[in-house]
């Protein structure tokens, strides 16, 4: 018999029992969809997110948060809970601590971050409404800075404050007290303008206006847009700020907002993403709260893994049930067609052909269920991606169905069909032609 005839006859036989065929396919469909979606999410999470995070350099970064900075002295000492559920007392994030952290294994660089929002950056008549922060030279790499113009901080310890502008801060310059906000950056030669840092002393008011002190500043670099938080920051060289504060002790002593002895935050760059979690844990042991994208990704991976496990379980069970129901459907169909099979044998249809016909039917149920299941997977994947996109950001699972996965899903479904059809087709081959045509 020609194989085209074989396939055609099998298809005809399935079509004759549409409802039963479709019901049997549903099992395969659910199984295939569960398995494909499972694998697609495993692919999605490993591929998409880690890649995009790694690009911004944020994967190797650990963020430090002081838990003592904002607590009043005399209050209860905050604690940090470690992974093994033990707790440590929170410590100050000061220069000593920064050195300790820098000495940890796999730590490439550390920078504390000092809030210097008491200063305002000014050029000509324009002031930026972005609050400056101060970081150490060398933190350009920690923060993943890329420069559109100029470069990073120098080692200069003088009191002229070096400044790096985030890409979106350019449009934050406006005339003081102007009510008009535009997204347009003023047309300036950013590296060569004259800048100053303004300190307004609200303890020394004249005509309802605080007294202004002006310090020299110099923009050394403008950042490329990264999509990260650096876009919105104005970074000052911490060394210059320290010198400046040192030289004007009497002025800044009164300002409780300007702490010099301890930092609220800091950043650590780890040499390898895989050690980020270890470093994070070590830092916590020192009494500094730490957080990293690695942590988040691990959480995501865990979530995704448990989801995959669930889907895999559903898939495996569905496939098993599907296999049983295919076998059952085929056996039923053989029972109903006993006479037909007998007649086929009398007419000279080879045993192998009869077996192949039933195997083909079972495989087609598998393939059919697989195809619908695959379409369903694309649908589910699309919905998952849509929902995750709506929640946005890095916390998204993604479903990615590459061609090989689609092919694998279909082959697997077909294989399940064929395996389930194996025994029924043997049964069909072994039916006695005579008994078959005798039974009325």
């Amino acid at each position: 018999m020609r194989w085209t005839d074989l396939v055609l006859l099998s298809a005809q036989n399935l079509w004759r029992r549409k409802l039963r065929t479709i019901l049997t396919m549903v099992g395969v469909m659910i199984g295939t969809a569960s398995i494909v979606v499972m694998v697609s999410m495993a692919i999605g999470i490993n591929q998409g997110n880690i890649e995009s995070l790694a690009q911004t350099g944020e994967l190797t970064r650990v963020e430090l948060n002081s838990m003592t900075y904002y607590t009043y002295s005399g209050g209860e000492v905050p604690t940090i809970t470690l992974d093994d559920d033990t707790t440590v007392e929170a410590q100050k994030l000061d220069d000593t601590m920064v050195r300790k952290i820098a000495a940890l294994d796999h730590v490439e660089a550390v920078t504390p971050l000092m809030d210097v929002w008491v200063f305002t950056l000014r050029t000509g008549k324009l002031e930026s409404y972005n609050n400056p922060q101060a970081v150490l030279p060398g933190s350009e790499e920690v923060l993943g800075m890329e420069f559109a113009e100029g470069g990073g901080f120098s080692d200069d310890m003088g009191e002229t404050v070096e400044v790096i502008l985030g890409s979106d801060t350019l449009s934050s310059f406006h005339k003081k007290n102007s009510q008009v906000y535009t997204d347009e950056a003023p047309d300036l030669d950013w590296l060569n303008e004259k800048y100053s840092l303004i300190y307004r002393d609200y303890n020394d008011m004249e005509n309802d206006e605080p007294k202004e002190y002006e310090f020299k500043a110099r923009v050394v670099g403008v950042l490329e847009e990264t999509g990260g938080e650096a876009d919105w920051n104005i970074y000052c060289n911490l060394n210059n700020i320290k010198t400046l504060i040192q030289k004007n002790k009497s002025l800044f002593k009164k300002d409780s907002e300007l702490k010099v002895t301890e930092y609220p935050r800091g950043y650590v760059k780890v040499d390898d993403f895989n050690y980020a979690l270890d470093v994070q844990e070590e830092i916590q042991k020192l009494g500094i709260s730490a957080w990293s994208y690695a942590q988040m990704i691990e959480n995501m991976q865990q979530q995704s893994r448990s989801m995959q496990l669930m889907l895999g379980g559903i898939g495996a069970i569905a496939m098993l049930v599907a296999a049983i129901s295919i076998a059952n459907t085929m056996l039923m169909s053989i029972y109903e067609r006993t006479r037909e099979i007998g007649v086929m044998k009398v007419l000279g249809c080879r045993l192998g052909t009869i077996g192949a016909m039933f195997l083909c039917e079972a495989a087609m149920i598998g393939l059919g269920g697989g195809i619908v299941g695959l379409l369903l997977s694309y649908g589910i994947g699309g919905v998952v991606n849509l929902v995750m996109d709506a929640y946005g950001g890095y916390s998204s699972f993604r479903s990615v169905i590459p061609l090989w996965l689609a092919a694998l899903g279909l082959s697997f479904a077909t294989l399940v069909g064929m395996l389930s059809g194996l025994y029924p087709s043997q049964r069909a081959m072994r039916l006695s032609a005579l008994a078959a045509i005798r039974n009325e």
Partner: protein, 249 residues
């Protein structure tokens, strides 16, 4: 006719069925020759073993003892795949119950044996159409079995049995379910086409008017051949009773 080499040689054929503890001799030492192109009728009372003999000749049942040789091949020595192959190459079978494929049209039913033989779609359709037209079913080719009368269904059955031009055609009471006039027509058709193909026709029947139209008639009783009548010469032959040691009297 005796000078020609028989196409079917049956020697001392025995078929024993076991029903519970009872042994039932459905065939009890049948010896018979059938010649090419011959129309042979097998008659006898109900339960005399006619169907058993025919089924065995068609390779549908294994003999308990004895030998069957058809077209130079020993059927009793074949396994099931070989038997199927043998049928594919030599045999057409017409059923009393028609046994058409219910889901297929008349045309599709007739093409099936050709499908099994791997004949190309165009050619098999042509052959099947010719066959159906010859049987007067040219206007019913798209009908399903349930949309046809018994006589029409049997004509489809005949077309299906003969479409691959088999050397030997077996028919077990092909007109058993039809009225006498239709029987007559059907028989004429089978005979005509078998003759045209040079096929040997072996038919089981209860119908004396049919048996009269055969070349030879074999009568069975209790699994034994009790007489063979040659309708052309009018000669009546009574074979030797089965060997004494097989079954003491």
């Amino acid at each position: 006719m005796e000078a020609i080499e028989p196409i079917i040689k049956i020697r001392n054929l025995v078929k024993i069925y076991h029903v519970g503890d009872e042994k039932l001799r459905a065939l009890d030492g049948v010896t018979l020759d059938v010649y090419p192109g011959e129309f042979l009728c097998i008659v006898g009372r109900s339960g005399s073993g006619k169907s058993t003999l025919l089924n065995m000749l068609a390779g549908l049942e294994k003999p308990t003892r004895g030998a069957i040789q058809i077209a130079g091949q020993r059927l009793d020595k074949m396994n099931e795949s070989q038997l199927v192959r043998f049928r594919l190459e030599h045999v057409g079978f017409i059923f009393q119950q028609f046994n058409l494929f219910p889901a297929l049209t008349a045309l599709e039913n007739v093409t099936m044996p050709l499908v099994y033989r791997g004949v190309a779609p165009k050619e098999r359709k042509k052959k099947a159409l010719t066959m159906l037209k010859q049987l007067g079913l040219g206007s019913h080719i798209r009908h399903k079995p349930t949309q046809m009368s018994g006589g029409q269904q049997q004509r489809v059955g005949i077309a299906r049995a003969l479409v691959a031009s088999p050397q030997i055609v077996f028919a077990d009471e092909p007109t058993g379910n039809l009225d006498s006039r239709t029987s007559d027509e059907i028989l004429s058709l089978i005979k005509e086409i078998a003759k045209q193909n040079g096929a040997t026709l072996i038919m089981v029947t209860h119908d004396n008017t049919i048996a009269e139209r055969a070349d030879r008639v074999v009568r069975l009783l209790d699994g034994k051949v009790i007489e063979i009548i040659d309708n052309k010469t009018g000669l009546r032959e009574v074979p030797d009773p089965s060997p004494k040691e097989e079954r003491p009297a």
